[in-house]
């Protein structure tokens, strides 16, 4: 039963997940609001959901707590961005629930920070929703977050499923281990067969639940509407924002090209696109594909805001201050359709010139300056235009009187030229400058010599000082990848050459490597391809770092702009005087800080708070993840066969199956990315050790977690599942969690499908820690990737590793899954895939996974998701916590002041699994180390009755300074572990933190 239930639950989970997600997200949104409403009497819409919950919970505890929690809940989503928050934000809802909390609702899972709310929910759950909650919590929490995107379709089903789930969950709990073996396929079938009818009865049985579902649906709808009508949403959100955590509004400050400031209120979770469109609307700009929004990261490095991802997750702790600027410099500005576009390009170039980014000679400075004067002042007026009028303009970084005189002299010669003509002349000259449109990045060559990488429309330029020492045109580049702080390009063999060669560059850090990689991917796509990688358009952004440029290419934007049919818009050419030129200076409101504070306040969860504080300082975290896998005895054989290095299968049917549920729709994509990273690690944990950039990985994790918390977004996105998923993926990639990424540059005709990004082993390590279904998905992606890059991959070690890893991972996964049933992967996936799989797959697949991969993905998803859902059910038991603490204490070699130990356990699994006697089949210990992380994996396989049980205990020690968000790292590790072992459920998470109080960076 349990297994069946698990599988069913899994299946259900998907649907459930949606509802759950909705619930969770909605609850977060609505619940929080409700909570707030409870406390503050909020709008009915939000309250609907809340009321249900409340009614369910009936216990007022949640209300006050909820009120407090709402903000926290939103913080978790933001948590990815904000490291301040404790691990709880990252932890899946189920995990978030601490032992102290008997059971958490899935909704909570979405909102890690809301421990309070969780508690309330727990109560509620206990009363009515418990089944649901449990179900949700098990699979739902994780699934909800992950699945939210996918959920859209499932929603209806979800309700039914939820009901079922609840039942199932209950059953599972009771019978949990007994019949875990049941095939997921069956579950799927059951679900299908059951259809809505089943759900209805269930609903009847549990009115409260159904109501909740409805409310959830409503909330989902709301969310969708929100997405559709962001503005409206925002407005509404604004109204509710104060009360509702989710609806928080943030004021974005955008520095426009003329130096003026544009302020815009956006929903806290708004995507970059929203803000960008707001700005373009303000500017009355139609040819916007050449432009973008940038921001400065903590290292003062300029980063491009990904339009498809949430702003908050990208800027992290940075201020909500952006700069509107040219992202792709059109090689031939005369082909732009509108003068206003050219004008904006002129403004950008004037900035570039004045700042020295675009070097030019004295004569060129003078000439360009004269066109600037002509455009902004009109014909030279001897009486009005004296020399001093000119000194307010900045024509060059070092402006001399001589230059100004020359400018005036030339200005006189432009008499009669219209502003548009002057701009055109300006551009005709500026475009010839050798550094026009070249995006420079500091790097070192293989010999450690300082060089500059210049990304431009035609390819990649290599500079040493001002000298161009090499150039790689896009057609010559087969693949672009990065691994850690290394950036690689694979070069097409020349006529006389037989083999492709790979050129590597060392970037200052991983982020820089990723940044240049992304810029390359974007420029290649924009300038080289006719259209973005079509096949994977939805799939552009794949797991982890499978970032792809999803906007329009130059060819497309030209085509689109050729259709522009409007009278030339009037626009004011503002003076480009020095005074008005403050590129970055504008003070930014610390919205983030505010939100953080709110979150902190909201997240009153003792542990979470502590974690938060800890996260900032130097820490060492010891995490022990206990993964248990229940397999059919029959499957057990396969399990034993499992290549999974760390994983061991025990022959005992455990409730774990339910635990396995964790895969979340939204999370999946993230997970996938993570998993992808993880996969490589899987191959060799030792590789993991190599990964230095755990931080990055961590970031991804955070994002992923936020996603889970942000089921709302997913819900709204329903129609855009794929897109969202992509976003998430991209986010993950963006987050730099990806250590590695590959991009296969294909000919324009060829779709970008070739472009693949592979992630690093680090993730793998983490993945090892916890086994999650999502990983499987990831694996599938890696495979596809591997297939594509395979040739190249070998050449490039970094790339090759991922691929290899991916391959290895797959096998591993299958073995791991084997317990559940390899057959399940292949067979079950189809059914599941049909429903949930489709939803999920697209997401995952969307990113990087090729079509082929999709197949794998679905499989993985199926397997993983159900289990994941179950996993979400994890509850925290004090006793366990105590134990864990002990363990952690023992193991952790901590020197520093603060030590905190928190144990999260899955209520179902732990007690049962541990308690059941069995025959120890195998036991092994694997240790891997990386710069920041040491992972120890203990695998034991036990035979119980007809079931084999595999228990994997992973201990991860994360060591790092403030640069690392330990919470994120931990979350990442957990996710990766889950991903690695999709068929397994996480039964216990022990977090032990030791912190040096000295530094609080974040």
């Amino acid at each position: 039963m349990t297994t069946e239930v698990g599988s069913e639950t899994d299946v259900k989970k998907e649907p459930e997940k949606v509802p759950e997600v909705q619930q969770q997200t909605e609850p977060q949104q609505t619940e929080q609001p409700d909570k707030a409403a409870d406390s503050a009497a909020q709008p009915a819409s939000a309250s609907d959901d809340q009321p249900q919950e409340e009614s369910q919970s009936a216990e007022a505890k949640s209300d006050p707590e909820a009120a407090a929690s709402p903000e926290p809940s939103s913080p978790p989503a933001a948590g990815g961005q904000k490291k301040d928050k404790g691990i709880s934000r990252f932890l899946p809802p189920w995990l978030k629930r601490q032992k102290s909390l008997s059971q958490d609702k899935p909704a909570e899972s979405t909102e890690p920070p809301r421990q309070e709310s969780v508690e309330a929910v727990k109560e509620e759950h206990e009363e009515t929703s418990q089944p649901k909650e449990e179900a949700d919590g098990e699979g739902g929490a994780t699934t909800s977050t992950e699945q939210t995107e996918e959920v859209k379709e499932v929603k209806e089903v979800k309700e039914v499923k939820e009901v079922k789930e609840v039942k199932e969950v209950k059953e599972v709990r009771e019978e949990s281990r007994a019949e875990e073996v049941q095939v997921e396929e069956k579950d799927k079938e059951e679900e299908k067969s059951i259809g809505s009818a089943d759900t209805q009865p269930v609903r009847e049985e549990k009115e409260g639940e159904s109501e909740v579902k409805e409310s959830e649906e409503q909330t989902e709808k709301k969310e969708e509407k929100k997405e559709e009508e962001q503005v409206n949403q925002q407005e509404t959100s604004v109204l509710s924002a104060l009360k509702l955590k989710k609806m928080k509004m943030v004021v974005c400050h955008v520095t426009l090209l003329d130096g003026s400031q544009f302020s815009c209120e956006v929903e806290k979770r708004a995507k970059g696109q929203y803000l960008f469109f707001q700005v373009c609307e303000q500017l009355n700009l139609l040819e916007k594909d050449y432009f973008g929004l940038s921001f400065k990261d903590n290292a003062e490095q300029r980063c491009w805001l990904d339009p498809t991802k949430e702003i908050k997750r990208q800027i992290r702790n940075s201020q909500w201050q952006f700069a509107f600027s040219v992202k792709f410099y059109p090689p031939d500005p005369s082909q732009l359709t509108e003068d206003i576009t050219r004008y904006l390009l002129c403004l950008q170039l004037r900035q570039d010139i004045a700042s020295g980014r675009l070097p030019c000679s004295f004569v060129t400075h003078a000439l360009l300056g004269s066109y600037t004067l002509q455009a902004e002042l009109g014909d030279h007026d001897p009486e009005e235009h004296r020399l001093d009028y000119i000194s307010d303009f900045q024509f060059a970084p070092n402006q001399t009187k001589e230059l100004e005189e020359k400018v005036v002299e030339l200005h006189k010669s432009h008499r009669g030229m219209t502003p548009a003509q002057a701009d055109a002349q300006f551009l005709e000259n500026a475009k010839k400058l050798s550094m026009y449109g070249v995006d420079l990045h500091h790097a070192k060559d293989s010999e450690g010599v300082d060089i500059m990488l210049g990304v431009c429309a035609n390819g990649l330029l290599i500079y040493k000082d001002r000298l161009r020492i090499n150039r790689f045109a896009w057609p010559k580049i087969l693949k672009i990848s990065y691994k850690r702080s290394n950036f690689y390009i694979k070069i097409r063999p020349g006529e006389a050459e037989q083999f492709e060669s790979t050129v590597g560059f060392k970037l200052p850090n991983h982020r820089a490597a990723k940044r240049v990689w992304k810029v390359c991917v974007e420029h290649h796509t924009f300038f080289r391809l006719v259209s973005p990688e079509q096949p994977t358009k939805t799939k552009f952004l794949t797991l982890g770092s499978k970032f792809r440029y999803s906007g329009r290419t130059q060819a497309q934007t030209r085509q689109a702009s050729s259709l522009i049919d409007r009278p030339a818009p009037y626009f004011q050419r503002t003076s480009s005087k020095r005074i008005s030129r403050s590129l970055d200076g504008a003070p930014v409101v610390n919205v983030s800080d505010y939100s953080q504070a709110l979150t902190a306040g909201a997240g009153e969860n003792g542990p979470s708070l502590e974690l938060n504080s800890d996260s900032k300082s130097l820490e060492e975290e010891l995490t022990s993840l206990f993964l248990s896998k229940a397999c059919f005895s029959g499957l057990a054989g396969s399990c034993s066969a499992d290549a999974a290095p760390a994983e061991a299968s025990k022959v005992s049917a455990q409730p774990e199956v339910p635990q396995q549920t964790p895969p979340r729709p939204g999370t999946d994509s993230r997970d996938a990315s993570k998993s992808a990273e993880v996969k490589p690690e899987v191959n060799g944990q030792p590789e993991v050790v190599e990964v230095v950039e755990e931080t990055v990985v961590i970031e991804e994790v955070v994002k992923a977690k936020p996603k889970s918390p942000t089921p709302e977004a997913a819900v709204t996105v329903e129609t855009e599942h794929a897109a969202e998923v992509k976003e998430e993926r991209s986010l993950s990639s963006d987050s730099e969690s990806e250590d590695e990424a590959e991009y296969h540059a294909q000919p324009p005709s060829t779709s970008v499908s070739a472009q693949l990004i592979k992630e690093e082993p680090e993730e793998e390590q983490e993945a090892d820690l916890t086994q999650q279904a999502p990983p499987s998905v990831i694996e599938s992606q890696p495979i596809t990737e591997a297939a594509e890059p395979a040739p190249a991959a070998e050449e490039e070690k970094p790339a090759a590793q991922p691929e290899e890893e991916a391959c290895a991972d797959e096998p591993l996964l299958t073995p791991d899954e084997a317990p559940n049933g390899h057959a399940l992967q292949d067979e079950a996936p189809p059914t599941l895939k049909a429903t949930a799989a489709e939803e999920e797959e697209p997401h995952i697949v969307n990113g990087s996974a090729s079509r082929v991969e999709t197949e794998h993905l679905p499989q993985v998803i199926c397997c993983s998701e159900p289990p994941v859902v179950k996993t979400e059910m994890v509850t925290i038991s004090d006793t366990f916590a105590a134990q864990k603490t002990e363990i952690s204490t023992k193991e952790v070699p901590i020197v520093h002041t603060e030590t905190k130990t928190i144990t999260y356990e899955a209520a179902q699994l732990d007690g049962n699994g541990d308690g059941e006697p069995g025959v120890l089949m195998t036991a092994q210990t694997i240790t891997s180390e990386s710069l920041c992380t040491t992972t120890t994996t203990h695998i034991t396989k036990t035979l119980k009755g007809g079931l084999s049980e595999t228990r994997i205990e992973k201990r991860i020690v994360i060591t790092g300074d403030s640069d690392i968000d330990h919470d994120q790292a931990l979350a990442q590790a957990i996710k990766e572990a889950k991903e690695q072992h999709p068929d397994m459920s996480v039964t216990r998470v022990v977090v032990h933190k030791e912190t040096e109080l000295a530094e609080d960076d974040d």
Partner: protein, 282 residues
């Protein structure tokens, strides 16, 4: 007002330097051939005559200096682009003082003078190929990275790419511009290698005019009012096969110029003058 990077090959002035007595015996050379000073002077006179009378350029002739046996090859001591002149630091120490007269002359012509003072830098103008859109600087025995960097710093508008030159004295020993976007290139392996590198390094597409003889690839292209495309190239007597290649450029005013004797001291056609466009200056 001419726009940026327009008017490639448009010149109004040329700076040359009379042949010193010491050239025959003391001028640096990669070979060991005897040089007939008289023949050198004949060739020089013909060269100046073409510039002055046939093409109508204003020719500034610097006085010969026996202390500087290589001084006839003025190209190496100055790189002029637009209204800016970079006075180089020749790779051969014996030639360092050749820059003084050139600097004076260019100053008098109203150019912005930039001197290469960095003592770690060396640059021979013969290693600098200006295509109209960018510079290629040959890294040779006479020119080093630092010299190229300084050049790049002086001519900021243009991309400056470095090209390793092996087995040849200068970059322009094996190539030159025969027209806008057309590179004359020798057939030797070193020459072809150079071309390949240049093609890879450039964002612009260049056609190539391959001539059998490397030395013949050194020609002078000009675009002069009233004359259109002008090309000074080798004579059929000197390089018959290569001359035939040039003769296929029907749209050019082709002017074969004898350079046989100076070739013995590694002097190409471009080496003998510094061309300047005063009108093009903004």
């Amino acid at each position: 007002m001419a726009g940026l990077m327009s008017g490639f090959g448009s010149f109004t002035h040329a700076v040359v330097r009379a042949v010193p007595q010491s050239l025959a015996k003391e001028a640096l050379r990669t070979g060991s051939q005897e040089v007939d000073l008289l023949k050198v002077r004949e060739e020089y006179d013909e060269y100046v005559s073409v510039l002055k009378h046939r093409l109508g350029l204003e020719v500034v002739e610097l006085p010969a200096d026996d202390a500087l046996p290589d001084s006839v090859f003025v190209e190496d001591v100055a790189v002029v682009c637009g209204d800016t002149a970079l006075i180089t630091r020749p790779g051969a120490e014996s030639r360092r003082k050749e820059t003084e007269a050139m600097k004076t002359a260019l100053t008098e012509l109203g150019l912005n003078i930039v001197e290469m003072t960095d003592e770690s830098a060396t640059l021979d103008g013969g290693d600098v190929l200006f295509t109209g859109r960018e510079f290629f600087v040959g890294l040779s025995k006479r020119t080093n990275q630092r010299g190229a960097e300084i050049l790049a710093d002086v001519f900021k508008d243009y991309a400056v790419s470095t090209v390793p030159v092996q087995d040849r004295l200068h970059l322009k020993t094996v190539c030159s511009m025969a027209a806008p976007g057309l590179i004359a290139i020798g057939s030797s392996e070193p020459a072809q290698k150079v071309l390949k590198i240049m093609q890879q390094m450039s964002d612009h597409k260049y056609d190539k005019l391959t001539v059998p003889d490397d030395y013949a690839a050194n020609c002078i292209y000009m675009n002069l009012p009233g004359k259109g495309d002008v090309l000074l190239h080798c004579t059929p007597e000197e390089f018959p096969e290569s001359a035939k290649v040039f003769e296929k450029l029907k749209d050019h005013m082709l002017i074969p110029v004898n350079n046989q004797e100076k070739a013995k001291v590694d002097g190409g056609l471009t080496c003998l003058s510094v061309l300047i466009n005063k009108k093009n200056n903004i």
